[in-house]
Amino acid sequence: MAAAKRMDTPLENRLRELAPQVLGVVVRRFRDFAAAEDAVQEALLAATVQWPREGVPDNPRAWLIQVAARRLMDHWRSEEARRRREELAASEASQLEPPVEAVQEAVPDDTLTLFFMCCHPSLTPSSAIALTLRAVGGLTTAEIANAFLVPEATMAQRISRAKASIKTSGVPFSLPTSQERAQRLRAVLHVLYLIFNEGYTSSAGPHLQRLELAQEAIRLTRCVHELLPNDAEVAGLLALMLLTDSRRAARTGPEGELIPLTKQDRNLWDRVEISEGIALLTEALGKGSIGPYQLQAAIAAVHDEAARTDNTDWPQILALYELLKRMSDNPMVMLNHAIAAAMVHGPSRGLELLKALDSDSRIAGHYRLDAVRGHLLEMAGDPEAAIAHYQHAAHGTTSLPERNYLITQVARLASRRDKEVTREDESATG
């Protein structure tokens, strides 16, 4: 069975750009998000089949709107239960179906509205991710399924259920009120962050046909940034993605093994992405409404600006983590803060900070705590204790690349210890 092909020809890129614009128009006309979304999907698929054969229409957006509208009405017509609405829609639609030139322009707010709908906080993260990639990203179900390594039927259902969930929670097709807006925007940014994370942290592996989710996340975040150019956290998130993505070529070795940031070959970092990230971040910080994404981006920027690991401005990073700690009580932030503190004040300072986490039920006993402890104990010159913690961490992680990395650290420390023992024996025996 062939995996879904990566679609990145100019035609497919254009279709993906048009998808949310078309969807916005169709939803506003027919007031049924779920049915409109299905109809637009069908229109997009029809375009990928017909346009290469017959040529791209003069007004591609209008073509897609008309085809989607027809599909939607066909769908309504075939539903017994909707007979009354169908009659009404048919009479309205025959008035509404204008000549190609008169099709109303897509409203930029439509795409933003779609983002808000698809990332509604009532949806689970995996539902919101799938729905956003389809409705706003214009990706096919097959592509999304392939990206998440599930069967197409499973992903199709996940998307249907997400749409049904939106319907039952009565989310309207309109921008959130000013009261809800901050929370709703945070939900959108969170979904985009999750998509980027999924794409960036997945091992390259043999899944060569997988969609570039990280690129998709960047593209969608750019879209939100263009729609909300004055929002500092949106710019901050985009900056964070670019500053992180810039390291992609250096993060794994030839055998797919993980390479920590401090050990990466910086010649492989993408300086163009870094420049863009820093420019975005500088502009965002200038707006004076600092937030967690901007802070994380700033930390990434400090790393990315260092020509060599030794040049890393750890005091700056520590100061940024101290600010981030105040905004976010995420225990993972505290782990990273402890590492930064160790780099500035020495490993015992870092280890002291970790002790506080032992009584935080969200992270006590978590393998990441063991891994960081192992790292700091090694810094502190206690390899035996470091080995024990790395081993414990390796046992507890469900990430294969991380497990391999941790086992390798154990092996490295154990072999160093064994060499030293041999040297001692040799010098003892003279």
């Binding site: 599930v150 259902q157 259920r161 942290t201 990430s399 690349p401």
Partner: protein
């Protein structure tokens, strides 16, 4: 989060299945079929397979020159995998819920078999840090 749910049995147990009446078998499959449909509709089913009878099982080791050495002798008491479900769920509790549904599958006379289902988390190819 991906989990694998393992349904195992012994040779003796499998022989026991062969004594089930046709309606027992149909009822059992209907239960599994219904569960699979629900899991697909929930967007949680990744894969499900029942396996061929243990008589067909082989154990393979690499022999000289990499050629396979196969052996088909298993003790009566050895536990065999009868089937597995791969699910993608939001939390481990959901994986246990699905396993309980499998466990409750009906046996002879429609009585729940209450078979134990082993639940294991699948290792992910993702790392947790964006290093």
């Amino acid at each position: 989060m991906k989990y694998i749910l393992l349904m195992t049995g012994t040779k003796a147990g499998v022989d026991g299945y062969r004594a089930w009446s046709k309606s027992d078998v149909e009822r059992h499959f209907a239960h599994l079929h219904k569960l699979n449909k629900e899991l697909t509709e929930a967007g949680e089913l990744v894969a499900n397979h029942g396996l061929a009878a243990p008589e067909q099982a082989k154990v393979v080791r690499a022999g000289q020159g990499g050629l396979p050495i196969t052996d088909g002798v298993f003790p009566e008491s050895k536990e065999f995998l009868l089937g597995y479900w791969l699910v993608d769920v939001d939390a481990p509790e959901r994986a246990y819920e699905i396993a309980a549904r499998l466990s409750a599958g009906p046996g002879p006379g429609g009585v729940s078999t209450n078979m134990p289902i082993e639940v294991r988390e699948i290792m992910s190819g993702k790392s947790s840090e964006m290093q």
